[in-house]
Subunit: 305 residues, 2 copies
């Protein structure tokens, strides 16, 4: 299984367009040793030929162009055989609207995420220009689903999902009944049983999410904020990480401490907010995460399981 990080930042990217915090300013000027990152999006392939996107970021066009394996191989063609959504957040779904131009798409989403995108969203009609333009396929937290391309051809990957506690995005708040599957973590397994766990956003490590990660060869985990009060301390917001649906990485009850026993060979933090000191390659937090066996995702990182 090949896994390619197309984008590794939280919503807004790094640097963020209207942010001049130490890190955003530092990455623009080169005063901080850090790499710019586009918004979270991954590509996974069992055969290196047909690819599954994990989420569809607003920057999907540039992300596709930056990865040769996703370039078309005919006058109208895409190696993107399916797209899996982990939430209805704009940074996870907005890219769908850039994947038009008459291409059929197979999109895997929970019913809550599908409704959040399709209902009450006239923009989604750009993906309803001909019958079957988007084939919505349901994810739930039951038995594994075999992923398939728009023609139904299997992609050699099965998907299991678990609810991830979170916070609905502003555009969905109060609009749909609360549903634990508004936000999920997932695992992909290939025919050899090699497993990737992908949990880019969660406010809590639940037993079900721990079960998803157990036995995975690689784990991508919510790395939005290092500390709960990170945005408050920088005077950028009144919101804690947890109130935004993100378990902080650091601290005695953060994800690193909670998952100290995780056996995965590759443990990778993704969905990094522009305020997160992990972005600074010279930071103490970066050294602490690495000492605990965690990597910090960056755009273009590729792993093979």
């Amino acid at each position: 299984m090949r896994v390619r990080v197309l984008g590794s930042a939280a919503g807004g990217g790094f640097p963020q367009w209207n942010c001049g915090c130490r890190l955003c300013h530092g990455v623009r000027t080169g005063n901080v040793r850090a790499r710019p990152r586009s918004q979270e999006c991954n590509a996974v392939s069992a055969d290196g030929d047909r690819w599954v996107l994990l989420n569809a970021s607003p920057e999907i066009r540039a992300q596709i162009e930056a990865f040769l394996a996703l370039h078309p191989r005919g006058s109208r063609h895409t190696p993107i055989a399916a797209i899996v959504l982990t939430s209805g957040d704009l940074d996870h779904v907005l890219g769908l609207l850039s994947l038009r131009e008459g291409q059929r798409l197979a999109v895997y989403a929970t019913e809550a995420v599908r409704r959040g995108f399709v209902e009450g969203n006239r923009l989604a009609r750009t993906l309803e220009r001909f019958p079957g333009q988007v084939l919505w396929r349901a994810i739930d937290d039951g038995p594994a689903t075999e992923l398939a391309d728009p023609d139904g051809l299997p992609l050699g990957l099965t998907l299991t999902a678990a609810p991830a506690p979170g916070r609905p995005p502003p555009h969905l708040k109060g609009n749909l009944p609360d549903d634990p599957l508004e936000n999920i973590g997932l695992a992909l397994a290939d025919a050899q049983g090699r497993r990737l766990a992908y949990v880019p956003g969660t406010a809590e490590i639940t037993p079900k999410l721990e079960a998803l990660m157990a036995g995975a060869e690689a784990v991508f985990l919510d790395g939005t904020c290092w500390s709960d009060d990170e945005l408050i301390a920088q005077g950028l917001s009144q919101a804690t990480a947890r109130s935004m649906g993100h378990l902080p990485v650091g601290g005695p009850d953060g994800s690193l401490a909670t998952l100290a026993g995780l056996a995965a060979r590759r443990r990778i933090l993704i969905h990094l907010n522009n305020t997160n000191p992990l972005l600074d390659e010279d930071s103490a937090e970066r050294r602490a995460a690495e000492a605990a066996g965690w990597e910090v995702a960056e755009d273009g990182l590729e792993i093979v399981l």
Copy 2:
């Protein structure tokens, strides 16, 4: 007046994600002498300090980062003082949804364009997180409007608009009553009376559009397709340029012939579709356009009036 081209391609950009036509393939491999282009978006400033965006492309984040003058100058700040929309096309409006993160925006649009974006579009609620997050200000084809920032401070630019014949985008078709102001051309003038005309999409050069362009020092014009049957000839679509709302550039009744008498010092074709031979710097069409006194916009082009 400073004018900076942030993006110069039509919807889908160049190359387009799922297109392997001669030009898209050629720009990826370097076999065609052409530059990649992001989707059409311009920035204009009377004082070099506060900027007005013309349209908000899906790629706005990268476009802002690529232009130093648009970087924030404080911990939360943007030099983008206003945004003007010429249509409700996704490639003109989707970027608004990437300009969240608590920033106040002054958005100038006709009532038809505002309704097309706000009504029946739950995603737009991400821009309604606090009162006054987006200040919609109406454009019509009446007297000139003085552009102002969210606090009402004038930006030293006045705007006039005229209807541009076009075709509503798929997500709006049949949803709202037909309105000639769904698609507009506009002119911006500074205090010294220097004028920029901006007509990125039109199926026809009407007398009103000609009046907008008359006396302008610089004109940006719809350069989507060179010939009416360009997509058909390449086997990519059954649609003519005109049926998609774009007057072809070439031919005896194309825009170059129609506007042969235009006096503007800078005449620039923008919103180039990936099929347009003007993208190929070695093409006969490129030579013909240049011989007629027209430039082909590229990302990063800057002009001073």
